[in-house]
Every structure is written in structure tokens, then in C-alpha cells.
């Protein structure tokens, strides 16, 4: 026979001042199934817990109801308590008579009556509780980091340093991300390459890191501790083992005039190329679209000059499958396509450029060897106008959000203009100036005070060209909202601070690996404040700008945090899983499959069931084996939401811990 023990807590006077705890405990004795009932000042305290454990032993209780504070507060406490008292931890229900009763009511009789109902419901439910087994799943001690920007590099290094093996998958030929393209970094103005490239080298030489360049994640199966990931290694036509990285092939390649992605199309590269001199790995790839051999069937000069015999025109994409315990997503961001601001003339006027293009123009190894020259005629611009919030904080054409790094990098760019070009002017059109970071405000003020950068508050409405040849110049028309009048500024070059955006394939990528994304397609963290690097999919973590616009210091901090989470996970040999999962009654399951698409975690799939048919049946011979498909829940993936149970037409799906029977018993208990 089932024996329930009811334990009513006074919570000091928190509960007892509005609920008659003694009466409540007394009344509980009369409920069906209740074998013991008592009350105590502090149930969660040591003596309170001891009381529960002793009562379990003394009265042979097999299930427990605690009427106390919210289960969100002490459910785990009491589960552990009855566990050490010899019961399965899930033979417990909590009646929330504090947050949802004593604290919100003042009439003692009414509150006691309500508390009685809450205890009734809990008793009715606990009578239907079943022992739920904790199950353990093994943890595969290898981590995958997707994206080799500063976020991915940092996360990989931090994980690898603790002794676990990391694979770093990067879709470009080299790791480095956007930071490799940046010239100097605010607020210290140290050179980006000087602080990034040593980390890239560390990653490539680390015994625990394998860099998988020029590759993409195709598919993620499995669940926390056991992700089966399919990675596509794109054909690079160069055998990375044989290649010594001498660079002769690139030098001799006849197709040299291909716009370089790394140089934001301001420079060129050959068809067999490494994106930049410090690339890691420094092994070239062949750009098939632009390669003369692939286009015409003739050439192969690279293969001829290669002394290592590394060029292989027969190379094919290759799929590899690897198992990982944890995944860090660090796929970064892209920049807003500002051609949508037609009135700014981007693509139309060569001298209207983006912030990232400016970074390449001031970079010593960039297309102009670090001399700021305007793209149209290679002359040095004197008047440079900067426009902030292009695509950020603009509901109509861009995004609502602030891109966070632009105020600072525009201040950086303007300072550089003033520093590098004699008699120059740097004018910034802004909406607000946001400098929330250590030494950021000081950096911006230095730009204004020491470098004489001019700030104009207002939005630019139009950019147009005037004059011909030498005298050709851009006119920036905007409103100075502080003066309240239209201003027209002559400019030799205009730099747009374009919004940081999610990668164009972010949503599809998120669906592929099973994480959620927000209204802007940035990946969603599990909790905006308290779980900023976790996703809602256990075992998958976020780092860097793929989660939202951020600068390098924040990116690195988040990468470290994600690494700590990964290490905490990998340090366990096995993981306990929540037993609150959906369960299929295969006898009832009709195999309709309606539950499969409703599951947000892809936890349900079909499985074959072979049954022997006994007796005589109308539709077939007896004793015959029949095969049918039924739903099967993967406990590692199921998070216990219960959406499938409602959808199941055969009533075959139920949620352990919140079964139909349990919930209906609660509903019925009050009548």
C-alpha cells in the first residue's frame, strides 16, 4: 500500500502567520493514502530534514509531500533528503504554501483553506509518482570549436591548456577572423596582428589543438557528451601534408587580378592563394572559379613549379565524422551591406568606404602599404567624414540594436587620420557617443582634445559628388541637430561605420546544429544575465560576436567563460541526466509520426519494432512476425517540455514526472 508522509513547514513565521500549520497537518491526516503528517518550524533545516528521514523509516513511508516554500527554492534540497532517507528522489512533491499562499493572502482562514487544497493536489499527485531512474551517459572527452576568429582561437587555447583535445574548424583557408583584418585596436592602439598572430601560432603548435581549415560543419547528431559531427573538408587542391608553404605557386600563378576578400576587394590575389602573409595554416588553396586550369583545361603552372608535388587537381570534398563531448560556436559576424543606403552612394562613389575597408587602407601590409589613399585616384584625402550607425539603431533600413564597437573604432579611425595625414580634418556624424568600457571614454576624449577630431551630432541625409577630375569632391549633407540647421561638408573620402550583423547563414547554421537564435539571427544564450555563454541545448556554448555585437575584450572574456564550461563538462566521466523525459507506450503508438516535427530538440525518431502476432487474426496468419514503426525518444536529447504528449493522437506519449495521470489527479483532487 502506498504511504504518504506530509510535512508542513512554518518557515519561521513566514507561513504560520497566515496559515494554521497545525490544522493543515491535522487535516492532511485524513487524506487518502496519507500515513503520517506533521509540522515543524523549519523543514529545510538539519533537524527538519532528519525528521523527514526518521519518519520515512519509522512509518514505512514510500512517498513524501512537503508543504513549504516554492519548489524552485528547495525541491532539490528535499529530493536529496528523501534520497538519503532511502527513497527515490522523485517520490516527492512540494505544495507551495509560502510564495503562492501565505505571502499573498492575509485572511488566515481563507489562506488555510487554500493551503489545504494545495496539499490535496500534491498528495493526489504524489500517489501517482513513480520511481524515476537517474541515468548516466558517458562524456566523450574531445571538444569542437566552430569558427577560428579571436573567439574560437581563445576558447580552443583555454580548453587545450587544461589537457583536453580540441578541433578548431574554420571555413576560410586561415584562422584569424575579422581581427586579422584590423590594423590597430582601441583603446590601447596596439597593433592587431601583433597580439593576434602569436595566438594563432600558439594554436597551430599546441599539441592538443587540431586546426581543420577550409572546412564546414555539415551535420550535428547526438547530444551532450556525445555529439556526432560531420565535417566537410572542402577541396583545396593542395595537399597540406606535402605543401611546405613556400609560396612559389602563388608567385607564378598567371591569374593575379582576382579581388582579395581579405583586402575587402581593395587589393588583388592570385587564384592559388593564402589569404594573408601570416595565415595559419600557411598553405594555399586554389580558388576553382578563377583558376585558369579549371576554366580552360590548360595551365597547371602551379603544379609544375611546386617542388613538393603538392598540387592535386583531382582533389574532392571529403566528409569526416568525429565524436565530441562539447561544442563551442564562435562563428562571428559579418558587416551590414550599406548599398541599401542608396543616398550614401556606396558602390557608386569609390571614395565612400566601410570601416573595415579603412582598416585595410591604414594597415602597413594592406594594399596601400599603410598610406591612407582614396580608392578613386590614389591621392591622400584631406577631409575625411565618418558616419556612424549605418544600419545600426535604424529600424527602417537596418537593425534596432547598437553594434557596440563602432563608436570606438570610428574614434580610432578619426584619430588615425589626424595622426597620419598632415593638415587633415576628421569629422564624425553621430547620434550618440557610447563608450562603455574600461578606458574607452578617455580614448574618445583624447581623440577630441589631443587630435582635434570634430564631432557633429546629426544624421547624414545625402552624399553627392561635385566637380571633375582633380577637383572632384564629395559633399556630405546632413543636419547638425545641436545647431538645428543643415550642414554641407566637403569630403575627400567618407567612411561608414556599418552595423555588425550575424553571418548570412546564421539561421540555417543554428537549425543545423540545433541551437536557437533571436529576432536578429544572433544565437541565443540560455539566460541573458545568468547563463550568457550557454545555449539551451546542453553541451553547446557560445563565444564572440555570433551571440551579439561585441568588441575584442568582451569576445575574449566570453571565449574564456565558454572554455570553462566545456572543461567542467569534459572533466566528468559520465553525466547524470534528468529523468523528466517523454516516454512512448509502444503498444499504443500508431507510428503516425506527428510527434517528430513538434519536438524542438529532434529527440524523437522512428524505430522498428518487431512483434509476434498470436492467435488468429483477421489480417494475417498466426504466429507471424510483423514489423512496424514506432516513435522512440532519445533521453539524451529530450529536455522534458511535454509538447509531444499533447500532440500524440494515440495517447502513447507521456511525460515522466508530469504524466497525464498525475496532472489529472491534481485537477480531480479538489472535488
Amino acid at each position: 500500500m502506498k504511504k504518504v508522509g506530509v510535512f508542513v513547514c512554518h518557515c519561521g513565521t513566514n507561513i504560520s502567520q497566515t496559515v494554521h500549520c497545525e490544522k493543515l497537518a491535522e487535516a492532511a491526516k485524513t487524506l487518502p493514502g496519507v500515513a503520517f503528517s506533521t509540522e515543524y518550524k523549519y523543514m529545510c533545516s538539519d533537524p527538519g530534514q532528519t525528521m523527514i528521514k526518521e519518519a520515512i523509516a519509522e512509518h514505512g513511508l514510500d512517498r513524501v509531500v512537503v508543504a513549504a516554500c516554492s519548489p524552485r527554492m528547495h525541491e532539490t534540497t528535499f529530493r536529496k533528503c528523501i534520497d538519503s532517507g532511502g527513497l527515490n528522489p522523485y517520490m516527492l512533491e512540494i505544495a507551495n504554501i509560502r510564495e503562492q499562499c501565505s505571502w499573498v493572502h492575509s485572511d488566515k482562514d481563507k489562506a488555510t483553506a487554500k493551503a489545504g487544497d494545495l496539499v490535496n493536489m500534491a498528495v493526489a499527485k504524489v500517489l501517482k509518482n513513480e520511481q524515476l531512474p537517474s541515468s548516466f551517459i558517458p562524456v566523450h572527452k574531445r571538444a569542437l570549436v566552430i569558427g577560428g576568429g579571436i573567439a574560437g582561437i581563445q576558447a580552443a587555447l583555454d580548453i587545450a591548456d587544461t589537457g583536453y583535445h580540441v578541433d578548431l574548424v574554420e571555413r576560410e583557408p586561415s584562422i584569424g577572423g575579422k581581427m586579422a583584418q584590423i590594423d590597430k585596436t582601441f583603446p590601447t592602439m596596439d597593433c592587431s596582428a601583433c597580439i593576434l598572430t602569436p595566438k594563432m601560432v600558439d594554436a597551430s603548435q599546441h599539441p592538443n589543438i587540431t586546426i581543420i581549415p577550409y572546412s564546414e560543419v555539415e551535420k550535428v547528431d547526438g547530444y551532450v557528451g556525445n555529439f556526432d559531427v560531420t565535417i566537410r573538408r572542402k577541396a583545396s587542391y593542395v595537399d597540406s601534408v606535402k605543401c611546405t608553404g613556400c609560396g612559389l605557386c602563388s608567385e607564378k600563378c598567371p591569374s593575379k587580378k582576382i579581388p582579395s576578400e581579405f583586402e575587402c576587394n581593395l587589393g588583388t590575389r592570385p587564384a592559388i592563394y593564402s589569404p594573408f602573409p601570416q595565415a595559419i595554416p600557411n598553405k594555399p588553396v586554389i580558388d576553382r572559379e578563377n583558376c585558369r586550369y579549371f576554366k580552360t583545361g590548360k595551365c597547371k603552372i602551379c603544379a609544375r613549379v611546386c617542388t613538393a608535388d603538392a598540387v592535386n587537381f583531382e582533389d574532392q570534398d571529403e566528409m569526416v565524422q568525429i565524436r565530441y563531448g562539447a561544442i563551442v560556436v564562435a562563428t562571428g559576424y559579418t558587416l551590414y551591406d550599406h548599398s541599401q543606403y542608396g543616398e550614401y552612394g556606396y558602390g557608386h562613389y569609390k571614395d565612400v568606404i566601410s570601416g573595415l575597408e579603412f582598416e585595410r587602407l591604414v594597415n602597413a601590409s594592406g594594399p596601400t602599404m599603410g598610406k591612407i589613399k582614396r580608392p578613386s585616384d590614389n591621392t591622400e584625402p584631406k577631409n575625411v567624414v565618418f558616419i556612424k550607425c549605418v544600419g545600426s539603431r535604424d529600424k527602417a533600413r537596418g537593425h534596432d540594436y547598437c553594434s557596440r564597437a563602432c563608436c570606438m573604432y570610428t574614434a580610432k579611425h578619426a584619430t588615425m587620420v589626424r595622426d597620419k595625414i598632415k593638415d587633415s580634418q576628421a569629422i564624425i556624424f553621430y547620434m550618440d557617443i557610447r563608450t562603455p568600457g574600461k578606458n574607452y571614454e578617455e580614448f574618445y576624449l583624447r581623440g577630441v582634445e589631443e587630435y582635434g577630431v570634430t564631432y557633429v551630432r546629426g544624421r547624414v541625409s545625402r552624399i553627392y559628388e561635385e566637380g571633375e577630375g582633380e577637383n572632384r569632391k564629395l559633399i556630405v549633407q546632413g543636419e547638425d541637430t545641436l545647431l538645428g540647421k543643415q550642414v554641407f561638408v566637403d569630403a575627400d573620402m567618407v567612411v561608414l561605420a556599418t552595423a555588425m550583423e550575424p553571418q548570412p547563414d546564421a539561421a540555417g547554421f543554428a537549425r543545423k546544429i540545433g541551437i536557437s537564435y533571436d529576432q536578429n539571427n544572433f544565437f541565443s544564450e540560455a539566460h541573458p544575465k545568468l547563463r550568457p555563454v550557454e545555449t539551451l541545448s546542453a553541451g553547446i556554448y557560445l563565444a564572440g560576436a555570433c551571440q551579439g555585437p561585441k568588441d575584442i575584450p568582451d569576445t575574449v572574456a566570453q571565449a574564456g567563460a565558454a572554455a570553462a564550461k566545456v572543461v567542467a563538462l569534459l572533466s566528468k566521466d559520465e553525466m547524470e541526466t534528468e529523468p523528466i523525459v517523454a516516454k512512448v507506450d509502444t503498444d499504443r503508438c500508431s507510428g503516425c509520426g506527428f510527434c517528430i516535427p513538434i519536438c524542438p530538440y529532434k529527440a524523437i525518431s522512428f524505430t522498428d519494432l518487431t512483434e509476434r502476432v498470436h492467435g488468429s487474426v483477421a489480417w494475417g496468419p498466426t504466429g507471424k512476425e510483423v514489423k512496424r514503426q514506432v516513435a522512440n525518444v532519445n533521453n539524451g536529447l529530450c529536455q522534458g517540455c511535454g509538447a509531444c504528449t499533447v500532440n500524440c493522437r494515440a495517447g502513447a506519449l507521456d511525460l515522466l514526472g508530469f504524466t497525464n495521470e498525475q496532472i489529472l489527479a491534481e485537477v480531480d483532487s479538489l472535488w
Binding site: 516554492s70 519548489p71 524552485r72 507551495n96 509560502r98 510564495e99 503562492q100 505571502w103 499573498v104 493572502h105 492575509s106 485572511d107 481563507k110 489562506a111 483553506a113 487554500k114 487544497d117 494545495l118 493536489m121 536557437s516 529576432q519 539551451l536 523528466i580 513538434i598 524542438p600 529536455q639 522534458g640 517540455c641 511535454g642 509538447a643 504528449t645 499533447v646 500532440n647 511525460l655 514526472g657 508530469f658 497525464n660 496532472i663 489529472l664 491534481e666 485537477v667 480531480d668 479538489l670 472535488w671
Partner: protein, 192 residues
């Protein structure tokens, strides 16, 4: 904080005369305000209802948002009528319409299904199913002649203690004049 974007959750639904236009239904929340009340309304006339009669309302609350919101109301000592009994579910999407019907059959006078705001579901998509299911459900209630004002779907986040207080208070105030719900009573389901 009360979300001003949820008009239907903040205002007491006005009983409407048949034929009056339905206010613009917000796609997010479902309440009686969206529906015209059936002519054979089950509202008892004032004299039938005992002066101290209080409705009993069952609340299906998802444990990540609304249950936490109700806890917050408690932590903030926000007072509301003793009419509600909260039944914790992992996700509002777990609430089978069958449970709601059963509650009315057994004798509850009102039912509230409450979960995370659309887009905020802990389980990503659960509350979208809730939304779709209960839009239909509300129509069904109307169809079978159960006063739809007795049933409500609402989004209350873990930080919306005041909204929880407000919603349950309003629901109580709405149902009190309607008197006990008798439409779906099981035979002998209630001791009247």
C-alpha cells in the same frame, strides 16, 4: 513590470452585447475580450449568487516563466484573492486541452493557462503550440456554450510578479458575477 503591449491582459474584458464589434484581437494573448459572449450566457443573476461566493480558478503555470512570476508576486508580497490554485507544468505546451475540459467538468469556475511570452519559451517553441491550441479551444468553448470569459491564456514572465497579481485578480473579478460554472459539470462531480 506590466507589459503595455498586452492590452488584453491588462484590462478587464468588457462583456459585450452580441453584435458589437470585437476589438482587434491581439495575436499574442487570448481572452474573452476578443470574443463576443454567447447569448445564452451562463452568468447567474446577482441574486442567485451567495454574497460570499468565491470562484475557484485553476492555473496551469509553466515552471520557467509564470510559476516563477507567481513566486515573485509572493516575494514582493503582492496581495490577490485566494481563488487560484496553481498547477505546475514544465511548459505551457504540456497543458493538454483535455486538462482544461476536465477542470470545468469537475467544477472549477475558471481556468488560466499561462506561460512564457512568445519568443521566450525555455523550450524554444512550446508556447507557440499553446497559442495555436488555445485559440481554437476558446472558440470551442464558445461553441459548446461555456462562457469564454471563464477561460484565459496569458503570457507572464518570471519577472512579471505584478502582472500575475493583476491577471488573477481581474479573472476573479470577471468570473465572480458569472457565478458557479455549471455547463460541463460531471454528474455528481460537485457537492453543491
Amino acid at each position: 513590470m506590466v507589459n503595455s503591449l498586452d492590452p488584453t491582459c491588462n484590462t478587464t474584458p468588457e462583456p459585450m452585447t452580441p453584435g458589437s464589434t470585437t476589438p482587434n484581437p491581439t495575436p499574442l494573448e487570448i481572452s474573452a475580450a476578443e470574443l463576443t459572449v454567447p447569448q445564452n450566457t451562463s452568468a447567474a443573476s446577482a441574486k442567485d449568487i451567495a454574497s460570499d461566493w468565491e470562484p475557484k480558478i485553476l492555473v496551469f503555470a509553466c515552471q520557467y516563466c509564470t510559476y516563477a512570476g507567481a513566486d515573485l508576486a509572493g516575494l514582493s508580497r503582492l496581495q490577490y484573492p485566494t481563488t487560484t490554485r496553481v498547477l505546475r507544468v514544465p511548459c505551457s505546451g504540456r497543458t493538454n486541452p483535455q486538462f482544461v475540459i476536465r477542470a470545468f467538468q469537475k467544477g472549477f469556475d475558471g481556468v488560466l493557462v499561462a506561460g512564457c511570452h512568445p519568443g521566450d519559451c525555455h523550450f524554444t517553441t512550446g508556447n507557440y503550440f499553446t497559442r495555436r491550441r488555445y485559440l481554437l479551444m476558446t472558440r470551442l468553448m464558445e461553441f459548446i456554450g461555456l462562457d469564454p470569459r471563464r477561460f484565459r491564456v496569458c503570457w507572464i514572465s518570471g519577472s512579471e510578479g505584478p502582472k500575475f497579481q493583476q491577471v488573477v485578480t481581474e479573472l476573479t473579478d470577471t468570473i465572480r458575477p458569472l457565478g458557479p460554472s455549471q455547463k460541463l459539470w460531471d454528474e455528481g462531480g460537485i457537492s453543491s
